[in-house]
C-alpha cells in the first residue's frame, strides 16, 4: 500500500515572528524555516505504518519554493522513501494544495494521504478536508490514533469534549493531531541515506493545477499588546467588573 504524506516548509516554531513593515505578511527573509510540526507527526505515523508492514512505500510531497526540498529531505531522513516537490513561488492556499495532492494521489495510486491537521504559519486547517472532498474519499481528521486493517482505517479523533472513533473505508485522508505520536529524531545514517533518495521535481502545470491565489490579504498586523491587569479590592468589585465591564457574566 502506498502512502502519500504532505509536508510544508514553515517558519520554525521557535522563531518569534515579526510582521513585515509594509504589513503584507510576516518576515521570512533570513528566518529559520523547518517542517510544519503537525506534518512531522504525519510523517512519523506514515513511517510507523511502514514499520508495521501496513505501508509499502511512503512518498513525501511538498508544494512550494525550491528550498522546500530540504523539508522533503527531513521527511526522507525520518524514513520516507522518496519525495516529490511541486515547485512554485506562489504562496499557495489550501485549495490549490488540495488540488495538487489530489492529482498526485491519483497519479501515484496512493491508498492513504496523511497530512498535518493544520500548518502553524496560516493555521488554516482546511487542506485535508478539501482534499478528501475533491477525491471523494472519507476523512479522519485530528487523528490521535490510527489503526489500519482489512481495508479499513480506524481513526480516533480529538473533538471538543472527548474522542470520537470513525472507521474509514480505504482509500482515505487522515490528518494528524498533536497526540498521535512523538516524532523520532532522524538518525545520522538515515540523514546520510536521505541524500541519496530521489526527489521528483514537478510544476503545478504538470499536474494541470492552477495555484493562483484566490484570497487577497488586506493587511497583517501584530496582535494588540495586552494591557496590564488591575487589582481589585474585594470579590464584590470583581463580580461587578465581570458583569458590567467585561460583560462575561
Amino acid at each position: 500500500m502506498k502512502l502519500l504524506v504532505a509536508v510544508k516548509r514553515v517558519v520554525d516554531y521557535n522563531v518569534k515572528v515579526r510582521v513585515k513593515s509594509d504589513k503584507t505578511g510576516v518576515e521570512t527573509a533570513g528566518v529559520k524555516m523547518s517542517m510544519n510540526p503537525f506534518d512531522e507527526i504525519a510523517v512519523e505515523e506514515a513511517v510507523r505504518l511502514k514499520e508495521k508492514g501496513v505501508a509499502s512505500e511512503i512518498v513525501a510531497v511538498s508544494i512550494g519554493v525550491s528550498q522546500a526540498q530540504e523539508t522533503i529531505r527531513t521527511a526522507l531522513a525520518m524514513g520516507a522513501d522518496r519525495g516529490v516537490l511541486v515547485e512554485t513561488d506562489v504562496a499557495v492556499e489550501p485549495l490549490a494544495v488540495a488540488k495538487v495532492l489530489k492529482a498526485l494521489a491519483e497519479k501515484e495510486g496512493a491508498q492513504i494521504v496523511v497530512l498535518g491537521k493544520q500548518a502553524i504559519d496560516d493555521d488554516m486547517n482546511a487542506t485535508g478536508q478539501m482534499l478528501a472532498a475533491l477525491l471523494g474519499w472519507p476523512q479522519g481528521t485530528f487523528a490521535s490514533k490510527v489503526e489500519i486493517a482489512d481495508g479499513t482505517a480506524t481513526v480516533t479523533r480529538e473533538i471538543d469534549g472527548g474522542l470520537e472513533t470513525v472507521a474509514l473505508a480505504l482509500p482515505a485522508v487522515i490528518t494528524a493531531d498533536l497526540r498521535l505520536n512523538e516524532p523520532r529524531y532522524a538518525s545520522l545514517p538515515n540523514i546520510m541515506k536521505a541524500r541519496k533518495k530521489s526527489i521528483d521535481m514537478l510544476k503545478p502545470e504538470d499536474l494541470g493545477v492552477d495555484v493562483t491565489p484566490r484570497l487577497t490579504t488586506l493587511s497583517v498586523s501584530e496582535p494588540p499588546v495586552r494591557k496590564a491587569g488591575i487589582k481589585v479590592p474585594d470579590v464584590a468589585t470583581l463580580i461587578e467588573k465581570l458583569r458590567n465591564e467585561a460583560k462575561v457574566i
Binding site: G30, Y185, M192
Partner: protein
C-alpha cells in the same frame, strides 16, 4: 533556566565560507553537512539540554561498586547511540559514518554547550576507539571497535594514578604476561571519567601499565585493553573481570560525569601496540582529543554568551550614559551599558574566533590523516594552543556570563554558575594548560628546525602583505600585523633564551601560548572580516550577520589583540622575577 540555540548560521559560515575550499566538500555536499548540523542541534537542545541542570543538581550515585547516572541520562544515551551520533567521525569499516573532523567538532560544540557531563561519556569512548584503532591488533580491533562505535559498549582512558597525573613516567600499575598471550593487570587508577556507569553492558578500559621488564620512566609504559566483563564465546559480556570502581569523586563541576577510582586486581587484559610504546599510542589520539577538550571550552563559552545576551536585553538597571533609551521603563536594559557590551563582545569574539580556529585545525587533522605532511605539522603546532587557549577563554567567558547576571548569576536559578564550574576542569585534564604551554615551547616550536612555525608564519605574512592597504579592512589588518610582530619578537626571544636555559622557556611558556593563540585567532578574525566586508554591502537577509561579523572583528582587533604587546613585555621579563624568589619565602 538554561537556554541555547545552536549557532548554525555561524557554523555554516565557518564551515563553508571561511574554510570551504577543501577536499571534504567533494565527498560531503554542504547541504548534507547542514542537515547533519541541524539534526544534531535538535537532538542536543531537545534531549541533552533539559538534563543539564538536573544532572548537575542530582550528580552521580555510588553504591557497592555500582554507579548510577542522574535521572534521564541513561535514556538519553540510548537515544544518542541509536541516532548514531557516536559514530559520526568513526571509520566506516567499523560502522562509522566517516564524516569530516570539522563537522564532528561542531557537533561536539553543541553537545558540550547543552550538557558537558553527558558528552564526556561518548567522548571517552571515542578516545578509546582512536587509541585502539591506531595501534591495536586486527583481532582486537575487529571485535571491539564496532561496539565502541555503535555505543553498545563504552570506553575509558586509564592513565592517572594517585601519585602521578602529569608525570606519567612514575606510574606503577603492573602488567604480567600470561601463557595464553594475555596479561594480568594490578594497580590503582584515579580520576577515571566514565570508569563505571549504567549506560552500557560492558566498559572497555584502555589502561597504561608497566611490564615486568619495562625500562624506568616514560619509555617503559605499555597500553592494555581491559574489559569490565570478559567477552564469552559469543562475544557477549561474560565473566566479571578483576576491575572495579572503589569510589567516585565529589567535585566542583561536571557532576553528572562519574569520575572513578578504579582498582585492577589481576584483571585480564591484552596488549595494544608494542611493549613499552604505550605513550606513542596515546599521542596518536591526543591531537583529536585535545581539540575536543578545547571544544568543551568553546561550547560552554557559547552557552554562557547566549544566556548573558538574553538577560542583558531583559534586565533593566540604570540609565544609558547617553540618555535614557527605554522611556517606558524605570531603567534601561543593561545591554546599553558600555561595560556590559565589553563583556558580551569579549565572549562573542572568543567564541566565534575559537569556532573558526577549531574548524581550521580539524580540517588539517583530516588532511593529516590523508597523509598531508604540512597539515600534520600544523596540527602538531596548533594542538596545545587549541586545548589551552579554548579552555582558558571558555572559562573566562563563563565567568563573564555570571558577571552579566550580577547576583542572579551567582545563585543557581539561572544555571550560569554551573557553566563556570563545568568549564573549570577542561583547563586541567588531558594535560594541564601549563603542560600544553611547555609542549608548545619545548617540543612544537623547535620541531623540524622550526618548519611548523614557518608554515604558520608565512601565510600570515602573505595575508598581511596582500590586505594591509585594503580600503575596507586595511586598518584591522594593520592592527593584526602589530600583534603578529609581537609574536615574531617573542618567538625569537624564546628561541634564543630557551635554547641556553630551559627554565627561561618554562617561564615564558604560558604567556607565549596565549600570545600565539591570540594571534592565530586574530588571523581568523581578519580573514573573516575580509569575507564579511565583501558580503555585508550586498544586502539581503544575511547583511545583518556580516555587519555583526565585521563589528566583532573590529572589537577583537582593537580591544583584545593589543594584549599581544603586554604579553611580549611579560615574556621578555624572563625567568628572574619568578625564580629569584626564595622557595622558603612562599
Amino acid at each position: 533556566m538554561q537556554t541555547y540555540t545552536a549557532p548554525l548560521r555561524d557554523m555554516r559560515f565557518v564551515l563553508h565560507e571561511l574554510h570551504g575550499a577543501t577536499a571534504d566538500n567533494a565527498e560531503f555536499p554542504p547541504e548534507l553537512l547542514d542537515s547533519i548540523l541541524e539534526e544534531a542541534a535538535k537532538f542536543c537542545t531537545e534531549v541533552l539540554l533539559p538534563l543539564n541542570a538536573s544532572g548537575d543538581e542530582e550528580g552521580c550515585h555510588f553504591e557497592n561498586g555500582v554507579v548510577r547516572t542522574p535521572a534521564g541520562f541513561k535514556d538519553a544515551y540510548k537515544a544518542f547511540s541509536e541516532a548514531g551520533w557516536g559514530a559520526l567521525n568513526a571509520d566506516p569499516q567499523y560502522g562509522g559514518q566517516g564524516l569530516p573532523e570539522s563537522v564532528a567538532k561542531l557537533v561536539e560544540e553543541m553537545i558540550c554547550a547543552c550538557n558537558l557531563s553527558f558528552g564526556l561519556y561518548p567522548g571517552l569512548s571515542h578516545g578509546a576507539y582512536l587509541a585502539l584503532k591506531s595501534h591495536g591488533a586486527e583481532a582486537l580491533k575487529d571485535f571491539y571497535l564496532p561496539k565502541l562505535v555503535s555505543g553498545e559498549w563504552a570506553g575509558t582512558m586509564c592513565l592517572t594514578e594517585p601519585h602521578c597525573g602529569t608525570d606519567l613516567g612514575m606510574l606503577r600499575t603492573k602488567a604480567v604476561p600470561q601463557e595464553d598471550g594475555s596479561y594480568k593487570l594490578t594497580g590503582s587508577k584515579i580520576f577515571i571519567s566514565a570508569g563505571e556507569h549504567d549506560f552500557t553492558d560492558n566498559i572497555v578500559h584502555l589502561v597504561l601499565a608497566r611490564l615486568p621488564d619495562a625500562p624506568p620512566g616514560i619509555k617503559g609504559i605499555s597500553l592494555f585493553l581491559v574489559p569490565k566483563f570478559l567477552p564469552d564465546a559469543e562475544g557477549k559480556p561474560g565473566a566479571r573481570n578483576g576491575v572495579s570502581c572503589a569510589a567516585i569523586e565529589h567535585k566542583m563541576g561536571i557532576k553528572a560525569s562519574a569520575t572513578c577510582q578504579m582498582n585492577f586486581d589481576d584483571a585480564t587484559g591484552w596488549l595494544v601496540g608494542t611493549p613499552h610504546k604505550g605513550m606513542q599510542a596515546m599521542f596518536v589520539m591526543m591531537n583529536s582529543e585535545r581539540l575536543s577538550v578545547g571544544t568543551q571550552g568553546l561550547g560552554l563559552g557559547e552557552a554562557a554568551y547566549q544566556g548573558a545576551v538574553a538577560y542583558a536585553r531583559e534586565r533593566v538597571q540604570g540609565r544609558s550614559l547617553a540618555g535614557a533609551k527605554a522611556q517606558d521603563k524605570p531603567a534601561d536594559p543593561i545591554i546599553v551599558h558600555p561595560d556590559v557590551r565589553r563583556m558580551l563582545l569579549t565572549m562573542r569574539a572568543y567564541n566565534e574566533g575559537c569556532r573558526a580556529m577549531g574548524v581550521w585545525v580539524a580540517q588539517a587533522l583530516d588532511a593529516a590523516e590523508r597523509g598531508d605532511e604540512a597539515a600534520a605539522d600544523f596540527v602538531a603546532l596548533m594542538t596545545p594552543i587549541v586545548k589551552a587557549l579554548f579552555t582558558d577563554l571558555g572559562f573566562e567567558s563563563t565567568n563573564l556570563g555570571v558577571q552579566c547576571y550580577g547576583g542572579h548569576g551567582y545563585i543557581r536559578d539561572h544555571g550560569m554558575e554551573q557553566f563556570v564550574r563545568d568549564a573549570r576542569i577542561a583547563m586541567i585534564y588531558e594535560g594541564t594548560n601549563g603542560i600544553q604551554a611547555l609542549d608548545l615551547i619545548g617540543r612544537k616550536l623547535p620541531a623540524n628546525f622550526g618548519r611548523s612555525l614557518r608554515r604558520f608564519f608565512h601565510p600570515v605574512a602573505e595575508f598581511i602583505e596582500a590586505h594591509q592597504a585594503d580600503a575596507r579592512i586595511g586598518k584591522l589588518v594593520q592592527g593584526f600585523a602589530r600583534a603578529f610582530g609581537a609574536l615574531q619578537l617573542a618567538t625569537s626571544f624564546v628561541a634564543e633564551k630557551g635554547m641556553t636555559d630551559p627554565e627561561e622557556a618554562g617561564a615564558a611558556a604560558t604567556d607565549y601560548l596565549r600570545l600565539f593563540g591570540l594571534v592565530a585567532m586574530g588571523f581568523m578574525w581578519v580573514r573573516m572580516a575580509l569575507i564579511a566586508a565583501e558580503k555585508a554591502p550586498q544586502g539581503g537577509p544575511d547583511a545583518e550577520f556580516y555587519t555583526a561579523k565585521l563589528n566583532t572583528a573590529r572589537f577583537y582587533v582593537e580591544r583584545i589583540l593589543p594584549q599581544a604587546g603586554a604579553l611580549l613585555f611579560t615574556i621578555k621579563a624572563g625567568k628572574a622575577p619568578l625564580m629569584d624568589m626564595a622557595e622558603a619565602a612562599f
